[in-house]
Symmetry: C2
Subunit: 182 residues, 2 copies
Amino acid sequence: MLTQTQLKAAQARTAEYFAKAGIVLSQEETESIEIAEFGLEELEKQGLELITYINTDRYCAKELVLFPGQTCPEHKHPPIGSDPGKMETFRCRSGKVYLYVEGDPAESPKAQVPAGSEPYYTVFHEIELNPGEQYTIQPNTLHWFQAGAEGAIVSEFSSTSRDEYDIFTDPRIKRIPEVAAD
Amino acid sequence: MLTQTQLKAAQARTAEYFAKAGIVLSQEETESIEIAEFGLEELEKQGLELITYINTDRYCAKELVLFPGQTCPEHKHPPIGSDPGKMETFRCRSGKVYLYVEGDPAESPKAQVPAGSEPYYTVFHEIELNPGEQYTIQPNTLHWFQAGAEGAIVSEFSSTSRDEYDIFTDPRIKRIPEVAAD
């Protein structure tokens, strides 16, 4: 898990991405930027930084940051009761994102699967998102994504978010972050 | 209704707002920016410019532009069948917005009701939104909003949008835009 020092450093770096893109956060939001390192202890390779603007029982909106080459690991949002599972639209705001979903695999994927985690990346239908481009991921569909060399900012518009139910392909992953004392 | 020339001019002006704020649109989106003049033929006073990024049966996301002092007229989103009505979160991205909803009225509202339309503005509980600030409007609740002197860009995150069911206080208003030949 992250130490407080690592957490604060990652939050400050994320805040710089937002500032550079002209995305304004409140002071409270800036101090509560979520750093998801998924329990893998290699944030630079596999991780995600985010702000949840709003999450109601009807819809959700988040702003995601990926550092250069950083990967959000493969997962899906399963049905929960009468909910068919989270549906989400990714809109690239800056940088470049390679998004992989179920379907015909790319012959030469442009992203690199994080070394040591190869067994846990299984879908390779490739969608490249540049600023102003977006893609909607259907519920209960495996997906993962990686930023290009300059990192990326992605707006996520979706149905209700229940991160604790996400199913990751990598059994080592814990979605809910923990932070250690320094 | 707007002429083609008026429509194109308003679209170009809106595109400039997005560009200045670093919000990138696709070519197709830029060409389809929606100009809502509400059938009132006074776009500068009462109107709204917008892009709908995504509108599914579960959620919706739009980007709204208001020119300086421009007002989106008072309306509400009523229940439709089992849907309790559209719920929406307004997040100010740039500029300033004065939002009015049902509740204790402001003694001296900072916005000015558009001259000649006074009878159609009835709620005055004031929320001022600056960049990084947001407010969630409950379903079936009257609301209207006006930009400050520099205009504004507002991200709207919401449940499904069905604009054709919106109920405006002003009976002269037609929500669905028409465009005339020049």
